[in-house]
């Protein structure tokens, strides 16, 4: 992925297997969120491909002006594949849901409506049946499911409050609940523990494992809290300056000198 003359993510190859919890870590500005955005269709990668459940869902190669300006690697590798540039909603429809680093709840809506609205995509109604209440049964089912989801996340007591009036930690929970409402197979979490204290982080980790089991999910997350990453993920990818510098199990990563160097390098800035 290249923005203007800046190569944000270069020659990064990641693999997430079904049922895993995989973490993507790296110093600030390493390109983690950019990688997420490429997967979820927010950005079109300049050069590269994304596969999901064995089918190619995103593909691009340098075109037009970018042909000359491209500074990343593998400039020839994907030239012959067709460009596939789905919009984010199409990706979500395939079963990939996400949360955001800077919480993006719908701020004029209640907690309940935030989750209910995320169910819109999977509903079978059309605008006429919905407007004239011909699909009332479906609407009722959506509401019941939403309530169940909120109860499970211990958010039911806040259901009629504005989403933005919740405390920070609960807003993150709600964002996860909202993502679950789209019935995903792969859940991408962008710094789910940001701003949480150790106790909350611990709870969150357990919660992630719990929803993974319950909904048969695969989880791919960006996280800075090393305790969370080391305790709960099956595998870890480490990137710095847009490049992969290490991958492996938590134990392997902890012992990797390159990772330690990358992290110590930024420790001063933070």
């Amino acid at each position: 992925m290249q923005f203007g003359g800046v190569v944000a993510v270069n020659n990064l190859s990641l693999e997430v297997n079904r049922g895993e919890i995989v973490a993507l870590i790296g110093p600030n500005g390493a390109g983690k969120t950019t990688a997420f955005n490429c997967i979820t269709g927010v950005y079109e990668p300049t050069n590269g491909q994304v596969f999901f459940e064995d089918s190619l869902i995103v593909a691009n190669h340098p075109r037009g002006k970018m042909k000359k300006a491209y500074q990343g690697m593998n400039s020839e590798k994907y030239l012959r594949t067709k460009t596939i540039a789905p919009t984010p909603d199409q990706i979500t429809r395939l079963g990939i849901a996400r949360t955001f680093q800077n919480i993006r709840l719908w701020k004029s809506m209640t907690v309940f409506d935030n989750v209910l609205t995320a169910k819109h995509m999977r509903a079978r109604h059309n605008v006429f049946t919905a407007t004239f209440r011909l699909s009332a049964a479906e609407e009722r089912r959506m509401r019941e499911e939403t309530l169940a989801l909120l109860e499970e996340q211990n958010l039911a007591q806040f259901k009629d409050e504005l989403a933005t009036s919740l405390p920070y930690g609960l807003q993150r929970r709600l964002e996860i609940a909202r993502a679950l409402a789209t019935e995903p197979k792969l859940l991408l979490l962008d710094e789910p523990a940001a701003g949480m204290n150790p106790q909350e982080t611990e709870d969150l980790g357990r919660f992630i494992v719990q929803i993974k089991e319950k909904y048969d999910l695969t989880i791919f997350m960006i996280e800075h809290h090393m305790d969370l990453v080391m305790r709960f993920s099956d595998r870890i990818y480490v990137i710095d300056f847009g490049k992969l510098i290490a991958k492996g199990t938590p134990a392997e990563i902890q012992a990797n000198p390159q990772v330690i160097e990358a992290y110590l390098g930024v420790a001063d800035d933070e």
Binding site: F3, T33, N37, F100
Partner: protein
Amino acid sequence: MQFLQNSLPYLLAGISVGGQYALIAIGYTMVYGILRLINFAHGDVFMAAGMFMVFLSASLPLGLAIPLVLIITVALGFLIERIAYKPLRAAPRMSVMISAIGVSYLLQNCALYFTGGLAKVYPQLPWLSDTVSVFGAVTKRVTLITPVLTIVLVAALSLFIRHTRIGMAMRAVSKDFETARLMGIKVNTVISVTFVIGSLLAAVGSLLYFTNYASVTPTSGGMPGLKCFVAAVFGGIGSIPGAVIGAFIIGIAENIIKGLGWTTFSDAFTFALLIVILLVKPTGLFGEKATDKV
């Protein structure tokens, strides 16, 4: 040669109108660059300048009336910003735009009240209103003066923005409003200066424009205003040279269309052009590309 003689008047008129549009378009583009606001009232400030001229020249000699018109228009632009836009600095962008529409509505209604809804005859400006002939085409002198004056003013403005402290502050604010404020730039002063410059140029533009069109009505600011905004978007909003080039292109194209006998579509064409440019190059000819951070 015959063709040239037929089309020359339209071309000359186009260049002239283009210059007048350019002077107004700069006001739009500068305000947008700094406040991200479509100042819907700017066209009406231009109309108000025309009205001031009509009323002042009725009782004062032109030598006194013209500078007074410039001063009053500048004061009007300054006051509009202070009263209608400044209190909404923290409000959502849509509120400010609505306030601008409200000001436009107010100015038009005031003009309607003071004129009684009648078109007012614009005073003849000696020398400017005189007719001259160029290559056999007869036209007013203002047609020839406009592009020259426009270029001189734009050059002066560019120098001002590039070489003065306040000009530097303006560039900083348009790049990043918040950071500029944090760096101690007096944002409100910068915004006021922007409105002062914009209104001054609009006043000059109105002198030239109405000399050509001979009458002012309360709504005569609306359409030129919109067209100038289109010109600013066309050139890439926020960019002064872009606005000038956009204005000349629109002025010339509009007059060529009139020359072809499609007068009904001369206004519509401007908007068609806008829509095409927005679709092909959404940031205009010289605009910078902006990406949202997710």
